[in-house]
Amino acid sequence: MSKSCSLSSSACSVFAFIQHRYMTMHFSFLSWHAKGVLILCATLLLSSCGSGESRVESGNRDGVLHIGNFAEPQTLDPHIHTGVPENHISMALFEGLVSAHPKTLQPIPGMAERWEVSEDGKTYRFYIRKNAKWSDGVSITAEDYRWSWERASSPMMGNQYAYMLYIIKNVEAWGNGTLKDFDQVGVRVIDEHTLEVELENPAPYFLNLLNHHSFYAVPRHVVLAHGKMTDQYTQWVRPGNIVSNGPFMLKDWKIYHQLTVEKNPNYWDADTVKLNEITFYPVENYSTEERMFRAGQIHKTEDIPLDKIPYYRANEPEKFRNNPYLGTYYYQFNVTRPPFNDVRVRRAFALAIDRKTIAKDIMYGVVDPSYSITPPGLSGYNPPKLVSFDPKEAKRLLAEAGYPEGKGFPEVDLLYNTNESHRKIAVAVQQMWKNILNVSVGLTNQEWKVYIDSRNRLDYDIARAGWIGDYVDPMNFLDLGLSSNGNNRSGYNVPEYDQMILKTIPEASSPEQRLEEFYKAETRFMTDLPFVPIYNYKTKYLVHPSVKGLHPNYLDYYYFKYVSLEKEGN
């Protein structure tokens, strides 16, 4: 796209914005006549700039989906990236051994056309499709998977998601370097198209994991052409080099501008794929993104500014999507130092937070108040609700801990990373604590990396945090409390709890038994209360009505192969 063209399109967006404003706000002091003239002017300006066709319109005609993707991807290597923007692109480029149903996320055949599970639930045998091919036509074999998983879990790779593969027998030992030989790991190539996997313990969610990018196969022949197996950030992910096995393949990548993928003719299910291309735009500012959406430059936004929500709800509800998202927003205490090493103080603070008000009045009802660390509806698991809003009990507990009416309470700070909605919630919670407990809590905001560092060093009293699930299982949330989990960051270290998570639950005899153990573990966790849940995330974004088949699901995963664009009248 040339420079002048992009200039004119931004001018378009300004006029469209003006027009939009005039049509939606009621300027009662203007006569109908004046209003008509204004709208006419705005329309003329709009139509006079450029060809008059927005990206959405031309995209609908040519089968090109334009979506806002928040940030520039750090890399497209599925064994390195960790962010949500990269994941969206990865899901277009790659497909797991097992895929998932776009709505329910139940396992459905992907690269493997079928699989068998042994009676003890520990051994899986996958039959890879005979017609499974990389986008350059090279066949995908069982060895590709074995090699890729060796790469993904290799200690040399530095993959932050390597622990996801520890579910496979002996991978943990391999991953932390004590086992030097990958052949002793529970992954066996039976023949060219058959792969056998042996797990450490039976895990009903293993098939869901295979849909995660850390389990994707990468093209061995391409990776090795550009470096060794475990070399990071080599040229293999650049346009022209990278080949992939998903419904789309990389066409073009302009850093900080746009990334385009096109239909992969060698994909086994290419007939299902309806889109010709998808273009991802790294737009970090939600307000800018919303304006692009309004001007018809993108079909879908990544997010929406909170303050825009009432408008869309009232006027264009068909464009606004708000669906459950597997994640919890919580506050955590530094349990290693006073005053929050006292569970009564922690509980008093937790009970003094009015979650309903936060969800309804600050977040405009686009989130659900949360009373447990695991979100509701995780494969049949109903978490215990042990925290609620109870000012009286909160006061009593604080008094019992030695601070009646907040008297003598030390100076503490609430830490959050610089962000407008975190600030709003922090200010509101600060006021709740002040009103109910008569405790003054200071607020500290830090830039993301400093904030992560402060939490890692336990240099805080209370900190804001959030966790988005990677697979639909309570384990994904409850293992946050493990003393060895790098995302714990609260100093919570209870051997009994570690035992429950690491031993009791994985060795549970039946799925029902497993859920029961989860319930016990969470009850323990929410009684100790190192984390205080505030709300459960919900996705909130805008989608153009012409986009069909972009199904909402709990992980906010986009299965682009089912997406189609409806041509409009013109």
């Binding site: 825009k308 610089t418 407008e420 709003k424 509101a428 006021q431 607020l443 830039e447």
Partner: protein, 292 residues
Amino acid sequence: MAISNFDETEVGQSLWQDAKQRLRKNKLAIFGLTVLLVIGLACLLAPWITPYGYEEQNLGLGATAPSWQHWMGTDNLGRDLLTRVLYGGRVSITVGLIATGVALLVGVTWGAIAGYIGGRTDAIMMRIVDIIYALPFMIFIVLLMVIFGRSLLLLFLAIGLVEWLTMARIVRGQVQSLKQLEFVEAARSMGLSQWTIIRRHIIPNAIGPVIVYTTLTIPNVMLLEAFLSFLGLGIQAPQSSWGLLISAGVETMEEYPWLLIFPGVTLSLVLFSLNFLGDGLRDALDVRASKD
């Protein structure tokens, strides 16, 4: 009549009285001064003006447009904007005054000494200024805050300590040209000490550009405070300042325009007034112009 007339002409007028009279004739300057006084007083008397506290929330109310209960409306936590503007003004005005005061004190003294003495002293002093100039200013302030911890007064001082550099350069240039003039020669020939000459003759004559620059420094400093606070180095919520209110207002200007308009108008009013007053002061204090 004649006698009293005669008496009057006998009464000498000091430079300052002259200046006061000239300032009084300048309507814009007086307007500026009045506005500043009114806003300053309102901020000072905030608790008696509004029935609300600046941190007092009404989550059920949310953001509302200006009304009789809330003259400037409320923000999305239901806090009264007028109250927040008044309390925010306290922070902004204090930052403006203290930081500018520090900049003035250090900058003028430094520049005057360097310019008047000249030679090697001048070279060394100005190279120090150059070196501090070369330091990335953000890092400098962040370092100060890290070493001494977060406190409001320190923030004011830190900003002031960065802002004095330009002032020192301007004053030095002025002084260099002034010290060649006859009246300084005359003062020197009468045996006045160097410090007295700087204090009594040089600085008052260099005051014009200094005042103009000061009026530019104050808004600069107020915005700087907002920026630092946004990064978490300045004041912390629920406290606020005009700069912070504006930057929060910008984000929601389409939905709740009043959150931007009122703090914005207040800050602009203050800045305009400062400029008018600064202009007036410069004209009033310009000795050379008045002797024409």
